[in-house]
Symmetry: C2
Amino acid sequence: MTLAPDLAARLVDIDDAADPRIADYLDIRERDLVARSGFIAEGTVVLDHLLRSERFRPTSLFLLKSRVAGIADRLALVPHDVPIFAAERAVMDTVAGFAIHRGVLAHAVDRNARQRAGESAKDGGETAELAEFLARSRRAGAPLVVAIGLANHDNVGALFRNAAAFGASGLLLDGASCHPLYRKAIRVSVGTALTLPFHHGADVQAIWKALERSGHRPIALSPRGTVDLAELKPGEGLALLLGSEGRGLPESLLAQTETARIAMAPGIDSLNVATSAAIVLSRLYSAA
Amino acid sequence: MTLAPDLAARLVDIDDAADPRIADYLDIRERDLVARSGFIAEGTVVLDHLLRSERFRPTSLFLLKSRVAGIADRLALVPHDVPIFAAERAVMDTVAGFAIHRGVLAHAVDRNARQRAGESAKDGGETAELAEFLARSRRAGAPLVVAIGLANHDNVGALFRNAAAFGASGLLLDGASCHPLYRKAIRVSVGTALTLPFHHGADVQAIWKALERSGHRPIALSPRGTVDLAELKPGEGLALLLGSEGRGLPESLLAQTETARIAMAPGIDSLNVATSAAIVLSRLYSAA
C-alpha cells in the first residue's frame, strides 16, 4: 500500500532499538508508568480514546511499519507536533521487551501534570482537587463509582469499561487501588480510562468527608447489604462504593454507610467487583 | 501443627518429582486436559465444588505439605479410596512446571465418562445427550445460557460464575467454545464449572434444533437487539444466546432469533460477554 505523501513525510524511521528518540518505549512491560511521567497507550481503540481525551495528550506514537497504512485515517488526527515513529517488528519487540502484537503504541502525558503537581505541593492542594472532581461529578448528576483498595489491574480496567458503558460521571479510586494508567488497566478499560474522569490517590477518610461535602449519597455494595437495588434511584448523586473481592470494604466504612446487595442464588455470596458494578449501573441507567 | 492420626496415616509422601504416582500432575500448564482423560482442579474453593459435584469425582489430591493442616476439615470429606499425595514446594513446582502458589491440586474425572463415550459412539448418542440436557434445563425452569464460539478461557470461566450466581439452569457451549474443564476456565469459574450442569461440543445448527424441540425460547443478546430486557420474563424457558466479543453471533442465527440488547451510553456498543450475561440474568433472577 502506498502512503499519502504528507503521512509518509511525517514518519520517523527507527532501525536501531537503542535510538534515544524512542526511549519512552523501553521495557514497557516491566516499567509501568504513571500519570506524571507519562504512560503507554496500546492498540487502535485506546489510541482513539487518547486522541479525543480532554485530560491526556500523546507525546509520540510508535508503530509497526506494516500497520501504518491501515490506520492512516486515525494518524491524520494526530497533532502535527507529535512525532510518529515507525519500525519493523524485530526492532519494536526489542524496544518494548516483548511481542507487541497490535503494533500500535503511543506515549502520553497528563496535559495538566505540572499544574497538578504544583497544586498538590501547596497545602490543601489535593483536597481542593478532590473537591473539584466531586463537584463536577455531582453536577453531571449520573452515579459516581468509588473504588477502595482495588489493587487488581484487570478489575480496575473492567470497572472503567463498565462505568463508561452506563454513563457514570466518573471513577474515584483511593491510593490503595491500582492506578488507572497502568498499561494493562488502560487496555482492559478499552481506552475509557483516558476519557472517563477519574481521581486517584486520596485515602478512605478523605474520600468519605469529601463525598459528604459534595452532597453525594454513598451506597456501599456488600453481600450483607440491606437496601434493595430496585430502591436506588438515578440522578440523586449516588456514589457506589466498591471494595476488593477478597477483603471487601473496611468495616468502619460499612458501619457508617447505607449498604446495598445484589440478590444471588443461595450459597453464592460474591461476584467479580466490576461485574457487580455493571449490574447496579445498568439498572440505574435503564431507570433514568 | 500436628495432624490428626487418621489424616497423617492417609498422606502419601512424594519426594521425587519423577514419581509415577503423581504423573497426572506433570506439566499441567502446558497440558490442558479435557473431561474424558481427566482434568486438574486448583485451590480450595474449586476443591469444595469438586467434592460436592454430582458429575465429577477426584481420583487423587496433590498438596503442599504446609497446606495440609489448614485444610484438614475439607480433607475429611475426600472419599477413602482417593489417595492424598503431599510434597514440599520444590517437588510440587517441578512436577507442575510452574509455581503452584495455592498448593492445592486435585485430579478429577467425569463419573460417567465411559458411559458417555459409549453413547456418543452409537448413532445419535450425542443428539440424545443434548436433548436430555435440555429437557432437564427446561424442567428446572430457570434461564439457560448458550455460548457460541466463545474461545476465551477467562470469558467461559466468568460466564459459569455469573450463571451460577443467578441460578441459571445450565450452560450449553458449542464446539467452537473453550471447554469448561480447562484449568484456567475452572479457576475463573470459582469452581462452578464443576457443579453447574453444562453440555459442550454440539454445533450451532444442532443446538438450534434441539432448543426448538425442548421448548426453550431463544433470545440472542446483541448490540443491535430489539427486545427490551424489561420485557423478558423468567420461568418461560429462556435460552440466552451469547457470541464472542469480537465476532458476535452468526448472522444466520440472529436472523432467525428474537434479539435483546442492553441499553448503554451513546458511543458505547459492547460489554464483556460474561458481564452482559450477568446483567440479564440478574434482572431475570430479581424478577422471579
